[in-house]
């Protein structure tokens, strides 16, 4: 534990990376997942198929492979994130960070899509019909009536997906982002005698972060229950 306390500043910055990875990827995955589900339940068959294929392929690929693709293969195809270069205190957001956010977002969006799709299916058909009957377009029906209700119905599975994302941010540590896992490995290497304490400390912070997320999710669920 001492090793953690003595390096509390570094540990804090590491978790700042973790939280930033999570926030960026969380928002992007929700947006992209919503877009995907709109395609999947939309009227255009080609887009339905394209979205379904994307979800199947990306969801079934290990996250690590997706990340490796964006770190090593994509640059060869001209896809790079070199334009990202933000330094803020000890926080460093560079191309590694960008590639990690993109990988995490693409991967998580497929789970968001599936969670939302079951939410969409739980919205009674009459809701969409009534929305169409007052003259809303497909976009209006989705954004005004179906998706808001699908989100409300999907809070628990969406929370699970986002919790998984929070933990998945640790893979970014393998590729040069100084997030929690990367910092932990450095500490355990430098203070081999305190391995268990260091493990425990990092685990506890993750547990706390996940608990905060669960708490927010359950509040959201309660607030939306009346409707």
């Amino acid at each position: 534990m001492e090793a953690v306390l003595d390096n509390i500043g570094l540990v804090g910055w590491a978790f700042a990376h973790t939280v930033l990875l999570f926030l960026f990827s969380g928002v992007l995955s929700l947006l992209l997942g919503t877009f995907l589900v709109a395609l999947r339940v939309g009227p255009v068959v080609v887009l339905q198929r394209a979205a379904a294929t994307y979800v199947t392929v990306v969801r079934n690929t290990p996250l690590l492979i997706i990340l490796m693709f964006f770190q090593f293969a994509a640059p060869k195809l001209g896809v790079t994130f070199n334009f990202i270069d933000v330094q803020w205190g000890e926080v460093s957001m560079t191309s590694f960070f960008g590639a990690a956010v993109v990988s995490l977002s693409l991967y998580t969006s497929t789970f968001v899509c599936e969670a939302l799709r079951s939410g969409v299916n739980s919205v009674p058909l009459g809701q969409a019909e009534a929305a169409r009957a007052i003259g809303l377009s497909f976009g209006g029906v989705m954004s005004q009536v179906v998706l808001p209700q699908a989100y409300r119905a999907s809070v628990p599975p969406l929370a699970s997906v986002q919790i998984a994302l929070l933990k998945n941010t640790t893979v970014a540590g393998v590729f040069g982002v100084m997030e929690a896992l990367a910092r932990m490995r450095i500490l355990t290497n430098n203070f081999t005698g305190q391995k268990i304490g260091i493990f425990l400390a990092f685990a506890i912070v993750f547990v706390v972060l996940v608990e905060v997320l669960s708490f927010l999710a359950s509040r959201l669920e309660r607030r939306w229950r009346i409707a």
């Binding site: 009957a133 007052i134 003259g135 209006g140 005004q144 409707a227």
Partner: protein, 258 residues
């Protein structure tokens, strides 16, 4: 009968507003609409009646194209129903629809339910839409519930909100698909009262219902459907007292026993 009667005078009462010409539809092998020809005049109130499965809902839904047809044509105000896209949405905005199961938007307040269409489809300013919505909610007697959610209202109240929601679009014609059959008896009257005053106010209405009281007081015409076809068409009085076809006699015999 009060404020609901103060409808603007229909521009040319008596002209055909909704015209169905040779409409056929199949669900797989089932011929649900069989050569349907109907012409409904502006301001006319038509009640559609018939046994379960005779195609009444399908007919209603075809008129605002929630259901497509396989043959024939449907025209509203002289224009054939558009196939899809913006024009179809515009058509639906002009046709009010009231469902058996109310279908109020569950996540929106009563007021938001009524203002959604005017704001998003008619592009009215929010304040104007809300003022109009409150006026309509008052007219149907649920003004004090404006801030509540649908689940907090009784069925009868929800159905009256659904009517207000449709009216807020200032539709040319209103379709009602068994608006009272999901309601407890004591709530049926409050909904029918609203519909009667609408009818008296000159609204063009197509109403699927087995409420003979409504048909007798408000309808100009009764259409009797059986197995996807129009079997008989008459004034309410003639139809109920002197049905011509065996099927209508049989059907009336059954519903009168209840």
């Amino acid at each position: 009968m009060t404020a609901l009667e103060k409808q603007p005078e229909a521009p040319a009462a008596g002209e055909p507003l909704v015209v169905l010409d040779g409409v056929n539809k199949w669900f797989g092998k089932l011929h649900v609409l069989q050569d349907i020809n109907i012409s409904i005049k502006r301001g006319e109130v038509v009640v559609v009646i018939g046994p379960s499965g005779s195609g009444k809902s399908t007919l209603c839904r075809a008129i605002n194209r929630l259901e497509t047809i396989d043959q024939g044509s449907i025209a509203l105000d002289g224009d054939p129903l558009p196939q899809e896209g913006k024009a179809l949405a515009a058509l639906r905005a002009d046709v009010g629809m009231v469902f058996q199961s109310f279908n109020l938007f569950a996540h929106k307040t009563i007021l938001e339910n009524v203002t959604l269409g005017p704001i998003k489809v008619r592009k009215k300013p929010k304040a104007e839409a809300e003022a109009k919505a409150r006026e309509l909610l008052d007219r149907v007697g649920v003004g004090v519930q404006a801030e509540k959610y649908p689940a907090q209202l009784s069925g009868g109240q929800q159905q009256r909100v659904a009517i207000a929601r449709a009216l807020a679009m200032e539709p040319k014609v209103m379709l009602f698909d068994e608006p009272t059959s999901a309601l407890d008896p004591e709530m049926i009257k409050e909904v029918l009262d609203v519909m009667v005053s609408l009818a008296k106010g000159g609204m063009t209405m197509i109403v699927v219902t087995h409420e003979m009281g409504f048909a007798r007081t408000a309808a100009d015409r009764v259409i009797f459907m059986s197995d996807g076809a129009i079997v008989e068409e008459n004034t309410p009085h003639e139809f109920f007292t002197n049905p011509q076809s065996a099927r209508a006699k049989d059907f009336l015999g059954k519903i009168l026993k209840h």
